[in-house]
């Protein structure tokens, strides 16, 4: 490559590098650095190095309960999303129907409509006079309306609905990129039906499963809007806690320490992406 080409190439990368450096790398690093500084009620921080914030998060019962609850909810949401997402991804990757494009679009469309829209949908569905309670009452299963809003159960259902597309797409990619000849070979060699699926297809789609699970897990752990609007009042999650620490308590160092736990989760994704290899 000639020198002029190299210079032109550098010029092309100038805008994105400048933006990421000034508005992403530097501010995020500064923010995370606050996590090892001391809290000051009237200022952002005191310039004193301390591990106090992490100690409080990991040893104070109040914060520990929030972290434990967050991990539990994230694990449940991930497992349920996998149970729903895998069959859907498999269906989309293998179906021969002419409607495939439309069916694909129906999975993408909710994703594009934004978190608020979908959260609102569940608030309407789960209300005391909402559709779920109306139907259950009409069928005769219940007499008094069930409390679904502001419960952990309701929150988990809504989060699964909001995040399941993030599970479907990586698995779909893995299945669509899978060489069908491998399955044919297994079949020719005598493996029947489900055995081909469990011993060939499922292991080969592992990269998609890992990627999708990491995505759903982190997005659940960092959720703020859905838990704030329809989660239990006394059962907050990590993302919500960060929001409140900055929004009302103004304890930046502790918020930074909590956020770095979220980043730890995100490293899981990068690691999964690195391990799954095929897509960078």
């Amino acid at each position: 490559m000639t020198r002029s080409a190299r210079n032109f190439g550098r010029l092309l990368f100038a805008p994105i590098t400048l933006i990421y450096l000034l508005f992403l790398i530097l501010p995020v690093s500064f923010f995370l650095a606050l996590s090892v500084l001391k809290y000051h009620p009237n200022d952002l921080y005191q310039p004193i190095l301390t591990l106090e914030n992490y100690r409080r998060l990991l040893f104070d019962g109040f914060y520990l309960a929030i972290i434990g609850r967050t991990l539990k909810i994230a694990a449940i949401v991930t497992l349920v999303s996998l149970a729903i997402g895998y069959p859907l991804a498999y269906f989309l990757a293998r179906t021969r129907t002419a409607w495939r494009g439309v069916l694909m679009f129906l999975v993408i469309a909710p994703l594009m409509s934004g978190v608020i829209v979908r959260t609102y949908g569940w608030i309407v569905l789960f209300g005391t006079e909402g559709l779920v309670n109306s139907v259950l009452k009409a069928v005769g299963l219940i007499n008094a309306p069930l409390q679904l809003l502001n419960t952990q159960f309701g929150l988990i259902v809504a989060l699964v609905h909001i995040l399941v597309p993030y599970m479907v797409f990586p698995i779909f990619s893995a299945l669509a990129g899978l060489d069908r000849n491998v399955e044919r070979a297994a079949s020719t060699l005598g493996a029947r039906g489900w055995r081909v699926f469990f011993e060939v297809t499922l292991p080969l789609s592992r990269s998609g499963i890992v990627m999708g699970s990491a995505l759903v897990f982190t997005l659940t752990a960092g959720a703020v809007v859905t838990p704030a609007l329809m989660g239990p009042r006394d059962g907050r999650v990590l993302g919500q806690m960060v929001y409140e620490l900055v929004g009302s308590v103004l304890n930046w160092p502790l918020a930074a320490a909590a956020a770095s736990l979220l980043v730890l989760c995100q490293f899981l994704i990068i690691f999964a992406k690195f391990r799954s290899g095929r897509r960078v």
């Binding site: 092309l12 994105i16 952002l44 469309a109 409509s113 309407v124 569905l125 006079e129």
Partner: protein, 286 residues
Amino acid sequence: MSDGATAAPRARLSAGLPPAPRVNLGPAQRLLAGLLVTLIYVFLLTPIVIVVAASFNPGQSNALPTGGLSLRWYRDFAGSDGFVNAFKFSLQLGLVAAIAATAIGLVTAYGIVRFLGRRRALGQAFALMPMMIPHILISLALLLMLTQIPLPEAAVLLIGHVMICLPFTVAGIIASLEGVDHQLEMAAWTLGASRWRILWEITIPLVAPGLVSSLLFAFIVSFGDVYISLFLSSPGKTTLPIEIFTFMLWDSSPVIAAITTVQMLMIIALGLAIERLVGLRKVMRL
């Protein structure tokens, strides 16, 4: 993306082979699988359909089923300054962010495809960085920056939106650029065109559909964002999702259903346009 490039040779290879085995065997199992997929779709679509239904509710509460049809909540929406202004602000912000993210995405994608050679994967990973960091963290970090450096809040909000759109625009435009024959650019270069002229007169017209769809997709990403705007909205400069979020923290009324229905119709129309232009799968790197 992964099957597009290899589909043709693979189809030829498997021409004389037996059909690939499928899981479903008996008719009973087929029926069960069909039922399962239908149920999943019901689960996915009910909350969205329900919002549309609730928006025509004549009553005060979110009760369903409703006792009649009414457009009163759409009138409420049109009459509410807060929501209308937020809607307008989100439109403007989305438009500017989409244009900026597509322009920067174009030069970056061009650089990645044509000038990085073996370091291409690294460049792609760098462009995807905002996707790797929780958005709430980006928002907090930018707010922190505002407390230290006096910058206009709206400008920082815009940059935040541009950053979360960039991973999508870069990836989408890379996919489009891969379809452009490098020989055409080489020919123009041999004939004496400058590098900028080649980009402007050869490459850009060839990837135009990809650019339009990346513009639309970036707009969708910006318009639906809550997390970046959560800490960066200021009085008079609040995005629609944040206006709805703060309203819903204290109150719930079918006016939200009317607003979100309008928003969804707009986004579905844009999504269909992208599907027509290049296919959504390409933009979303599937």
